[in-house]
Symmetry: C2
Subunit: 327 residues, 2 copies
DNA sequence: ATGCTGGCTGAGAGCGCTCTCACACGGAGG
DNA sequence: CCTCCGTGTGAGAGCGCTCTCAGCCAGCAT
């Protein structure tokens, strides 16, 4: 029971292969009655074009890869970023009639697999959603001649097109909010210094603080809850008089909340806390977490658009401060 | 700058296409010095086989699809199930040298897309990870002649191979734990009745209760936190004297915790709470949540194994009770 | 010498499709 | 009447690969 071919459909409809191909691909130069006959034959046989054969001649795959250059744990954590990106990319790809292929390239073996897969003609382009700005994958693919766009500004100095979210601006607005509500000793739990988001959010914090002439109090975390807990604990030791903390991720903010509780500080009365990402759990935190929301879905759309219509330039998307009760 | 073909490599190495093909595909019947020469040519030209051409003749794609028949929101929620499945499938597929293609088929349009993609020869088989047991997708694909395995027992009466987790047994052990610790009026917040996990966990609850001769107190939720909150609130009205609740998902348990707190009940002193799934947030709940852990990664591995070596029969995996402080 | 293996290699067909090009056909214009 | 054109349609090449098959050249037995 092999799948029917163009040839079979043509025979059944009493026309040539070329005509069936025209109908299947929606050419207008086919007489109405023939079109109908062919469509019936397609229907009856349950014909589906063989994509391999098609790709072979067209040199297109009509699909794009969305590569997550991270371990799956991270991708499927409660970070809404990835979900939003996927939704956005899917939406846009749908509109352009392209299929989206998700790939995980967590390990170095994964990198190699992705490279082989994408260079072997499976896809027309690749979106690399990597949080590590220094990821070598995008450049490697580009060198192979594959169209690539990155989510997040690449740290490799390559001039690849990218879509990023205004991390600096987001952090600035968070710290400004703290400043405006009268906080005077504002600490931060920064993200890892090898990720753009970590770097840029710290820059934003410093910018806002410098403008107001206050000194910075910094702990370094890695975006996880545990590192937030530890960071907060350390901060409290360093400067027991602090009255606000900006955590570079909600997960770290959640950890900080816990550390604060343990230390007997009330939030927001004694210490105001503000996070980043607006994860699903943020409104359920105790107290509900004030945070920075990112337009993740729009990011996905822009990524796809950038990949599909080359020549357009990189985009930086704005963030939004969501005020709840923690600050 | 088009990609080099077999022909080019052959010319450079001074051999025929066939020989290059043999080397690339690891045939042993090639003289050592020729093999080396060919490999050098491949290296120098950066040759990567054209997968479309290869598939066209071999009728294989060397990749499998992992389809999530759910809206992305659900897939990327803090439910660790999907992440585990993905990891497991990837591991097993890697070992068999197959590529994993993730696809989201949330909408009905998505279903159609997935059907077209998988039937057009892109993949050698499909794993459908769907929580709705009555999903028509698996059967539709099977009808098309594509090898399919399901995660979760299909509710459609089809005899497709599947891998499931022992939901009934898991729920039973949860309720038994409650019973053994002296609880007498044990309620449940059940999952939606159109999902296997919802149905089976309720069955398990009923089984355990029936064995002990106690009556059941039931609220219906949809696995979300909000529905857990509402379910608990309703349960408290229905039977203010209850001293334990088994929530069919951790998210619902988290919602229940919140409702309990609001109602002034102490956990576990007044009411014991036990969840299901062991989400990442479970140990951080207040109090840390006792729950049922599922071997999700193993599930992924079994799914891949089942797809890759047909003839083996469906599998049901055991669960594990994780005792923390809420029960 | 001749015949027979057995190990390597090359020639060539063909996978299912698209797309160019030639061609058939009816109607308008010379 | 023939030419010219526009509109559909079919023939056929070829995309890059795999794989069968034939052929070649040792080396050994006859």
């Amino acid at each position: 029971m092999s799948r029917p071919t163009l040839e079979k459909v043509a025979a059944r409809a009493g026309v040539s292969r070329a005509t069936v191909s025209r109908v299947v691909n929606g050419s207008t130069t086919v007489a109405e009655h023939i079109r109908v006959a062919v469509q019936r034959a397609v229907e009856e046989l349950g014909y589906v074009p063989n994509q391999a054969a098609r790709s072979l001649v067209t040199q297109r795959a009509d699909s794009i890869a969305l590569v997550f250059s991270e371990p799956p744990v991270r991708v499927f954590s409660d970070d809404p970023t990835f979900a939003g990106i996927i939704r956005g990319v899917s939406t846009e790809a749908d509109a352009a009639d392209k299929q989206v292929v998700l790939m995980l390239a967590g390990s170095s073996r994964g990198h190699e697999r992705v490279e082989r897969y994408t260079t072997s003609g499976h896809v027309d382009g690749v979106i690399v959603a990597s949080m590590h700005g220094a990821d070598p994958l995008p450049a490697a693919l580009a060198r192979r001649g594959i169209p690539v766009v990155c989510s997040g500004r690449p740290l490799t100095g390559s001039s690849l097109p990218y879509v990023d979210i205004d991390n600096v601006g987001g952090a600035e607005s968070a710290v400004r909010h703290l400043l405006e509500s009268g906080r005077r000793r504002i600490a931060t739990i920064a993200g890892p210094p090898d990720m753009v988001a970590g770097i840029d959010r710290l820059t934003g914090y410093r910018n806002a603080l410098r403008d107001s002439g206050r000194r910075s109090i910094i702990a370094i975390g890695d975006f996880t809850r545990d590192s937030g807990f530890e960071g907060m604990t350390q901060l409290l030791e360093d400067d027991p008089g602090l009255d606000a903390v900006f955590a570079a991720s909600d997960m770290m903010a959640l950890g900080a909340l816990q550390a604060l509780r343990r230390a007997g500080r009330r939030v927001p009365d004694d210490v105001a806390v503000i996070g980043y990402d607006d994860v699903p759990a943020a409104p359920y935190a105790d107290p509900p977490l004030t945070t920075i929301r990112q337009p993740t879905m729009r990011m996905g759309r822009e990524l796809a658009r950038l990949l599909l219509s080359p020549g357009e330039s990189s985009v930086i998307l704005p963030t939004e401060l969501v005020v709840r009760e923690s600050a």
